[in-house]
Subunit: 238 residues, 2 copies
DNA sequence: GAATGCAACAACGTATGCATTATTGCATTC
DNA sequence: GAATGCAATAATGCATACGTTGTTGCATTC
């Protein structure tokens, strides 16, 4: 083995996970590359290449690929390497259906806990950030997307059901790229911002049922908007 | 390496999967052992032992363990081997919450398809089997459990959202052992049987909303019954 | 000129070897 | 007698070697 693999290890460190095991380093790094679109959908990646780039052997890379396959981010074709998942419109619909089932449950569970306002701060701050990003003459879509993502991550993290949190994060990751692609195509997400705020208000008021309903409606609308965009622009794979 | 590994390969074959890769053999077999309680909850399993028993090397066993960890059936503790997951009452509650979110969505999707009656036959037959198992003087709980499981498997299989199907199956497997344990402790599942039938009737009638509601109610009642049993009997880990 | 077959190559699936690390047991000391 | 430290053992995490399989390209034949 030549070199030291520092670059890869540091990159993984940067994402806040403990990179004790090289398997973990490979997992975090390959996952990042997929989500950041460095490995475009439909492309094939060879475990040998990844191993060489990250300066480690094929073994931890293989393990990482197995995990990523179960995350739905790629599929391992037995003698043909790993193919990065390319999502069709139908795939996006499937993913949204699942999120519509899972996330409102998480929101309901959080609301039922009747947390103190300060504990809901992460969500409030995300809403604030969304609103700020759209103020002024030049809306900052990138900032809005970051705030939106932090909101949904916050929901998963506050959710007391850890299994549910993990599933939500996994499914969200699958739709990550599609959200990025459509971000600039959709109308200004003013309504979406309002809807997030309304959900938080219901949570603050401890109205779990209302929070759930609002969130279901929010996700349904988001899905319809996204599906319309995908069909209008004729995206086949993203 | 001695022997030929025929036993393990045949066992995996028997469960209807293609055992092309040894990784797949190891995965199916270890999973079976966990679900059949041959590896009791909380126990530790050593990859070397499994490799020796299945007559293959540690490599495919490792991959299988990684997959099983993501399935939630065990957890790999870095230098301590794999520990079979032991579910607490809180874990069972988490799992039921997720199933209550996912399965009713599947039922709704199936009902919306307005399938011909013959395509819903698997579910009808499961209901028939449940009813038959409770007729007569000596109810056959084992047969009932098998029919119940086939019903829920049928729901997952008929569901047009493949991702959703897979998630339901994975989560169901996690609660498999707990269901077995409590089977003989719960009252005769007459009501549960009726509820299944009602769901199928709603699906046959194409009433998706009603099917969903009935199913949510069914699962909620099942959860409450199970949780009460667990608490009454003071199960700590299952 | 096109198609088929063979050969070389490349990638994967699996096995095994090596070094690190954690645990356990025994001995020694307080 | 108990506690601590060291050593031996065992199991993991990772690297690498090997055999199998699928692919690609060239040559030969129809």
């Amino acid at each position: 083995m030549a070199g030291d693999g520092q670059v890869a290890a540091q990159t993984a460190l940067g994402r806040g996970k403990r990179p004790q095991r090289l398997t973990e380093v490979a997992y975090q790094e390959v996952k990042r590359r997929i989500l950041d679109n460095e490995y475009p959908p439909g492309s094939q990646i060879l475990e040998q290449d990844i191993a060489a780039e990250l300066d480690l052997s094929r073994t931890p890379v293989r393990e990482a690929l197995v995990r990523l396959e179960q995350d739905g981010l790629l599929s391992i074709v037995p003698r043909h390497g790993a193919r990065i998942s390319a999502l069709s419109a139908a795939d996006m619909r499937e993913i949204y259906e699942i999120l519509i089932a899972l996330e409102p449950t998480a929101v309901e569970l959080i609301a039922r806990q009747r947390l103190a306002a300060e504990q809901l701060q992460p969500l409030v701050q995300s809403c604030d950030a969304m609103e700020r990003s759209l103020e002024g003459s030049k809306p900052d879509l990138k900032a809005w997307a970051a705030a939106d993502e932090s909101f949904h991550t916050g929901v998963a993290q506050l959710c007391p059901n850890r299994r549910l949190s993990a599933m939500i994060m996994t499914v969200s990751d699958q739709s990550h790229r599609a959200r990025l692609f459509t971000l600039t195509l959709r109308p200004l997400p003013l309504r979406s911002t309002q809807e997030h705020r309304a959900v938080v208000d219901a949570m603050l008021a401890g109205d779990a049922d209302r929070a759930r309903e609002l969130y279901v409606a929010h996700r349904r609308r988001g899905r319809d908007e996204l599906m319309a965009l995908i069909e209008r622009h004729g995206f086949q794979r993203l």
